[in-house]
Symmetry: C3
Subunit: 102 residues, 3 copies
C-alpha cells in the first residue's frame, strides 16, 4: 500500500490556549488535529512548575514544511510565555496527500 511520509507534532499546552492555538495551526497549514485532555509536570529553567491546571494535548499531522512553520510560531509566541511542550516525530500515512494541500 502506498504511504506518504509526514510529521506528527505533539503539543501540550494550557487549555485556555485552545482557541488561539487551533487558529494558529489552521493559519499555518494544518488540515486537522486531534485533541485530548492531559495534565503534566515539568520544569522551566531552574524553577519546577507543576501544571496542575488543565492541559490539552494536540496532535497535528502535517508536511515537514508546515511542521517547521508551526515550531517557529511556538518558539516565537508560546514558549516564552506559556508552559508549552512540543515535539515532532516521523509518521507514515495512508492517503497522506490530503495533508499536503497547503
Amino acid at each position: 500500500m502506498e504511504t506518504v511520509r509526514l510529521k506528527v507534532i505533539t503539543i501540550v499546552a494550557e487549555a485556555i490556549l485552545e482557541e488561539r492555538l487551533t487558529a494558529d495551526l489552521k493559519e499555518l497549514g494544518a488540515a486537522g488535529f486531534t485533541i485530548s485532555e492531559a495534565r503534566g509536570e515539568g520544569s522551566v529553567g531552574r524553577r519546577t512548575m507543576d501544571w496542575e491546571t488543565q492541559n490539552l494535548r494536540f496532535e497535528v499531522l502535517v508536511a515537514e514544511s508546515v511542521a517547521r512553520r508551526i515550531l517557529e510560531r511556538l518558539a516565537a509566541d508560546y514558549f516564552p510565555h506559556y508552559a508549552t511542550v512540543a515535539w515532532v516525530a516521523d509518521a507514515e500515512v495512508v492517503r497522506g496527500e490530503k495533508y499536503l494541500g497547503r
Copy 2:
C-alpha cells in the same frame, strides 16, 4: 538492554466504531491496544468537517506485517465511510517478542 523494533499505529475514529475496530484489530493480529478519549477537527476532501462527536484514539503496537494489514483494512473499510485518521511510527520495545506472536 535488548529491544525489538515494532510499529505503533495511532488511529482516531468515532467512538461508535469501538467494538468493530477492536474486533478487527484482534482479528488482524494485534495483541493489545490502548484507548483514550479525543476530539478533533479535520477536512475530508474539500469539505471541512468538525468532528464534535466523541472520538477515540487507539494506539496499537504491532509487527510491521500486522501494521500493513491494519492499514489495508482501514483503507478498505473505514476511510471511505468514516472520518478516520491513522498513522504509523517506529517504536522500540522491551520484551517486544510478545507482540510478534501472530
Copy 3:
C-alpha cells in the same frame, strides 16, 4: 530552527502506580512528563487480560541515556508485576537542551 534529537517514552500503566512511577521518572532524570487517562486491553503470556481498571498514559521526553535507564527500571520493577506497556520513539524538539540537564 535548531532542534535536538531526543526520545519520547510512552508508558501505559495502572493508575494506582502513578505516584511510584512519577517518583521513579524524576529520580532517573526526566525533567517532566505528560499524563492522560487511558484504558486498554492486552495479553500477558498466554493469558488474555482485560485492563478494565483505569490506566494512565505517560509521555516522557528524555535524552537517550535517560530513556535507557527508565526502560531498565520498568523491566526490573514493573513488567514482572504489573500490566505495563512501554515504547520508545524518536522526537525532534525545539529548545531540547532543557531536557538534557541530567
